[in-house]
Symmetry: C2
Subunit: 286 residues, 2 copies
């Protein structure tokens, strides 16, 4: 998305505005938010966006700033509109704290329904020691320029139907994992892509939570079609990402019992493994 | 451990007795347990044992029987003796339910201290469809007979010092990942072993939770020494294990910022990938 417009800054972007929850006066740890329809996929809000919403509320509630490990259980489908985040400080340590948060929306009968629940360990990425000993290597994938933008190629949509979230992302799939979009899935269960935000905002620890659930489902590369609802998603944030688009690499090795795992690696422009993720999802029937 | 004694049965074994929590009359979802010193490593109870204790309490509390995905955050070190498990049913669905549980122990001042908290999705492994499409292959490792038993080789102890848990396990390390015990770690960050229970009980979904945190730390194979405390551990149980010892394969690719991940695969005797795990742990200083 080459654009003449100014790039949005961290703290002043679509993502930041749409994840901002407002502390409710007189109720410590409780936040109100209007969930934005801009992060819809078909008929529900994206799970990575919701994880970022709760991750940001926990940043406010806890003494530490950065999610180091966060796990979400998705209970019911979230819809755009008003929602309440209730947080609990489980433990406050010197270098790390643990928190829990839930998102609620009101149903037609006026009852609060829990949408998702997360538990997370927070710390300060900048305060961690500098040691790095890694045997992980960046995923082999096509360059940004040679990848397939969902904006330029209408056929490459994560799902049949409308996906508003694509307007918020600068998502470019590695052609090697985009064959499913033209009826030729590789069968390997892989999905790789470059991921920026459409308004040019660089990534931070919170947008890594979005990135962990922003690519099309690996099930599509297995030749399956349809909805792949996430049951549980865990993200480890291992480093603050450098500016520039991320490389996100997902793989599924084991589809069994109607369930599949999606293992994710997120690499930044400095070739650092900045996050690892794994989710358990229900496999599409198709 | 060839033994002439009868093999313990699932439901009547050391593991079953030591994970049995008793419902507290008049307090639905609350259970009392006397945590057994038999699962100690050095100065704390093993994290896999504690996960199994909470996993079993959730089995009692929830309408579904088997943990499909369970995440624990370890807050403070658990000690042998009385403890209370408090469970919450978060959501009950037709095929899956979600629960949360915490373990508490009383400190010297008589205050309840939370030891660990878990959130989990339960289902019924036997009710899942039979489809299996997997590209995962069992870990390359030495046979059971050619692996190094912690009972036969005193040098091969997960940590310097006493580890009562080794008397409860039939743990045989692949010699390729046991060099650290004689001062020759491979540096690859791997740990592989065969894992049975010492009394001959076969594995089930609950003992997979124990198995996910029963091998020596991968950090030892990186040449590091000392305690590697688990901050968070997630286990996906993908199938009920067949009888016989498990193969457990752990790997660490990324040590950074004083933290490391341990990725685990657990394979059963029928060559099925029965569980996947990942933990975030604090790296030893050594």
């Amino acid at each position: 998305m080459a654009t003449a417009a100014a790039r949005a800054a961290i703290g002043d972007s679509e993502f930041d505005r749409d994840t901002a929850a407002v502390p409710r006066p007189g109720e410590p740890g409780t936040y109100d938010i209007d969930l934005s329809a801009g992060w819809m996929i078909i008929s529900a809000l994206n799970g990575g966006y919701l994880l970022a919403v709760l991750g940001r509320a926990l940043r406010e509630a806890l003494p530490h700033h950065d999610p180091l490990t966060i796990t979400a259980h998705y209970l019911t489908a979230s819809q755009p509109g008003p929602a309440v985040v209730r947080t609990e400080t489980v433990r406050s340590g010197r270098t790390m704290s643990t928190g829990q948060a839930s998102l609620f929306q009101r149903d037609e009968d006026g009852q609060d329904v829990e949408r998702l629940r997360v538990i997370a360990g927070y710390g300060d990425l900048d305060a961690l020691p500098d040691d790095v000993r890694t045997s992980a290597t960046p995923p082999p994938m096509a360059s940004y320029a040679n990848s397939v933008s969902s904006h330029d190629t209408p056929g490459v949509s994560p799902l049949p139907g409308s996906a508003a979230i694509l307007d918020r992302l600068d998502l470019r799939l590695d052609p090697a994992t985009a064959g499913w979009a033209v009826g030729a899935p590789s069968g390997a269960g892989r999905m790789r892509g470059w991921l920026g935000l459409a308004d040019g905002r660089d990534h931070d620890a919170l947008s890594l939570l979005l990135a962990a659930d922003s690519l099309p489902a690996t099930a599509f590369d297995l030749g399956l079609k349809g909805w792949t609802p996430t049951l549980e998603l865990t993200v480890h944030v291992r480093s603050r990402p450098a500016p520039g688009p991320l490389r996100v690499s997902l793989s599924t090795r084991n589809l069994a019992g109607g369930l599949l795992e999606e293992d994710g690696e997120i690499w930044d422009s400095a070739d650092r493994l900045v996050a690892q993720s794994r989710q358990l999802a229900r496999a599409p029937r198709g």
